[in-house]
Symmetry: C2
């Protein structure tokens, strides 16, 4: 463990620095708060300048922003304000801003522009960002834009579009540095220094054999800390993580997390190096994928506040209709016990408690299971153990809740009804725990996304079993019906 901060080259005593002077950095107090969010006062000032039609004032306000912050500003504005802002600051609307925009906002802005203007933006972007710009447009717009591009860019974008969405081939960058294995560290440094046409940001150099198969990877820090005469093959890491070109982005993201990668070579079916994925792109995918399951579990579609209302409505209402189906199933169970309820209205008062707590317990277990499946933590090798674990947690929770509700109902109604609700609660919470594991696991085995399908089924089970156990037990012990 080495904790020096390599201060030995500094002549001044670092302790002198206690005077509190702050370096001129990104923490930009006039516009951003401590969480790097644009201040409401600042946004209001931009809005007022836009409304007043004062393009000069708008420009002065916006000009100091980092492209990522300018993208945030655009997202915060109303749809009609966005076009006005873009018109007032055309020369600031560079490719970095476009690349940073929320997908929905970007798509909406691009659809409002003529094809040649979108093509002019696409020309400035890296292939992977240009693909993102173009892939969601409809076929006609896409063709119009591709026709405006020069040949080289068009071919690169078309080659990316030939791979399915969300695969490494679609997402990878086609700009990377690959060198042959006979080089020394010195050769490589000379090559990098003399070559004027390299990507400006890269983190690793890939070493390839004569068939263009990757044979090793060199971190730039190893190159910089190694004498010039050493052979690259002695510095590089041979044990590499290669990304197959058809790999899904979710698995790419897990690979980067699992092996702590900075970049990785993408190889085609014959093992040839065709592109690279870098961690700065993967960071977005990790965040998207991690949130996607949560959104799917709650039936919120893409779950993005910028999603057009029509799309949000259509994704969410489908979910409510599915849940309407499960609610109707639960209602038919209640209907079976209509006579009992007429006789003892307390049953109607208490039955939603059993169903609701069961539903919550099922949601808890299901959330844990879906996450473990997504993270590749739950496999055939440990399903039995996890089921047993969740059974025990559910049993403990069932007993706890049963005691609380059983005691309360015994006091407020009758001890017999208290016993019935306590027993129904234990039964339903245990069923919820088992369903919360088994339903997602079964969907996963059937190759159905557990995050999409599980919730409706688990809720149906816990609702129906909640009503059935409570009302059925009440009838069985002769309380009613």
């Amino acid at each position: 463990m080495d904790d020096r901060s390599d201060l030995d080259l500094l002549h001044a005593d670092p302790r002198e620095a206690e005077d509190g002077a702050r370096p001129d950095d990104r923490i930009d107090d006039a516009r951003l708060d401590g969480e790097n969010t644009l201040k409401p006062d600042y946004v209001r000032a931009v809005r007022e300048a836009l409304e007043a039609g004062d393009d000069g004032a708008v420009y002065d306000l916006v000009e100091p922003l980092h492209p990522a912050d300018l993208a945030d500003l655009i997202e915060l504005l109303e749809r009609n304000e966005r076009a006005v802002l873009a018109a007032a600051i055309t020369d600031l609307m560079g490719s970095e801003v476009i690349a940073e925009l929320n997908d929905f906002v970007r798509e909406e802005m691009m659809e409002a522009l003529p094809a040649d203007a979108v093509a002019a933006i696409a020309e400035q972007l890296d292939t992977d960002d240009a693909v993102q710009l173009i892939e969601d447009l409809d076929e006609e717009d896409r063709q119009a834009i591709l026709a405006e591009l020069d040949d080289e860019d068009r071919v690169a974008i078309e080659s990316a579009l030939a791979y399915p969405e969300e695969t490494a081939g679609r997402l990878m960058s086609r700009e990377f540095v690959a060198v042959p294995e006979h080089m020394t560290v010195g050769d490589l440094i000379d090559y990098l220094r003399n070559e004027t046409d390299l990507a400006s940001d890269f983190f690793e150099v890939f070493v390839v054999d004569h068939k263009h198969h990757p044979v090793g990877t060199c971190a730039l820090s190893w190159i910089l800390t190694t004498p010039r005469g050493i052979a690259l093959t002695d510095v590089m890491q041979r044990d590499q993580t290669l990304v197959p070109v058809m790999l899904d982005q979710e698995e790419v993201a897990l690979m980067f997390q699992k092996y702590a990668l900075i970049s990785a070579a993408v190889v085609d079916e014959s093992g040839r190096l065709v592109g690279q994925m870098t961690v700065d792109d993967v960071v977005h995918i990790i965040s998207e994928e991690a949130q996607e399951d949560a959104m799917l579990l709650s039936g919120a579609g893409e779950g993005d506040i910028n999603e057009p209302i029509r799309e949000a409505y259509s994704a969410r209402v489908r979910w409510l209709v599915a849940n309407l189906g499960t609610a109707v199933v639960a209602s038919t169970i209640i209907a079976m016990f209509g006579a009992a309820i007429e006789q003892l209205v307390a049953l109607a008062v208490l039955m939603p408690i059993v169903a609701s707590i069961g539903g919550n317990a099922g949601t808890q277990t299901m959330a844990v299971t879906v996450r473990a499946i997504a993270m590749n933590q739950l496999t055939e090798a440990n399903t039995g153990r996890i089921l047993w674990r969740e059974f025990r947690v559910a049993f403990l929770m069932g007993v706890t809740i049963a005691i609380l509700i059983g005691a309360a109902v015994s006091l407020l109604f009758t001890p017999m009804l208290g016993g019935v609700i306590a027993a129904a609660m234990i039964i339903n919470i245990i069923i919820a725990g088992l369903a919360g594991v088994l339903v997602p696991v079964i969907f996963e085995r059937l190759d159905i996304d557990p995050a999409v399908a599980s919730s409706v089924f688990v809720t149906m089970i816990t609702d129906s079993m909640g009503f059935f156990a409570f009302l059925g037990l009440a009838v069985a012990v002769g309380l009613a019906g």
Copy 2:
């Protein structure tokens, strides 16, 4: 846009490579499937060898694994098998394996080891990983381990532990490369090559002034592609993103995502460079934070399948008790309408449908809102717009569901009851939409984590309003009561 893959140094025609030979890479078909998950057959083979007490066979099976895969294997095993495995392969249980282990599994294994053994492991780790190893142990164990460490390591770990959990100060790496601003590119390369005591992996070099304040950042690729004579101050990027030492990890993760950072300088209150955060560490935080909200929303605690049963029980049961409270509130509303239910038992049959669909609609909106808040997308500047957006989505969904259920109930029961349930459904879905935005936003303004607190309140509102609107309308129109 530049799509060359820098093949010009390769003498062979890349098209020769179509022979399909696969490079010897991490895609390890005997042990891993296409998703980099350990195959069940392989895990079974390790288990059988462990059970047979055949340490040699265990070693041979496990030895080819990458440390991250070995960590996965340990997690997949039962608790008692883990200790047996660790004993059989002590020399493979290196620091990379320990650093990759799930927090709960690592803690459990560390608690089983004597202090000097844990200290020996901690000595091998980078400070940030060593801190992670030690921070969750109880005070006594922690002190015992710190006492075993040499002075330098102990001081570094104690300095990290002095910062609150989940802040940059706790998480940052204290190994980084900082150089003074008067250097040229050539000076820097010579320094890096001659200095034997540098961190082995770094992605950027920080340039600091005489007060040790960062004044710029140099990506290694810029250093490698620039002639030796150029001054560092002409290559470096002056506009840097600095991480304050007290910044919460959630904000650090958002910063890395927003500004696409590879590493960032961590500065103390006086602006001095004290550490760095690198993207490979932040990747774990991004994934954790993105999933944390989903787990909190469903009341699943840490939501980790490796969490000890006791802890999982205690986190989850608290949630069920809170929901028991909200369910009881809803029940008291039903109790107010006991006479109506006795008169028309169809009310008891149908009322859970109104509450349940309202609950689902509320969960959807709440999930979207909590995510937008976490991503800094929902601020004071656009709350009004989002509320209006969610109102419109809810209105459309309410009308759709009302037509479906209203028509069905009109046919199966009476048109009057169909009208009542349709009206109650529209009311409850709109209330759900508004509550789904307002509850998390209000908690956020009150500095209460919206992911923790919102769900209970939104459910209470949708359940209670569902019963109240439906039963109340039924009584108001004279159907019962």
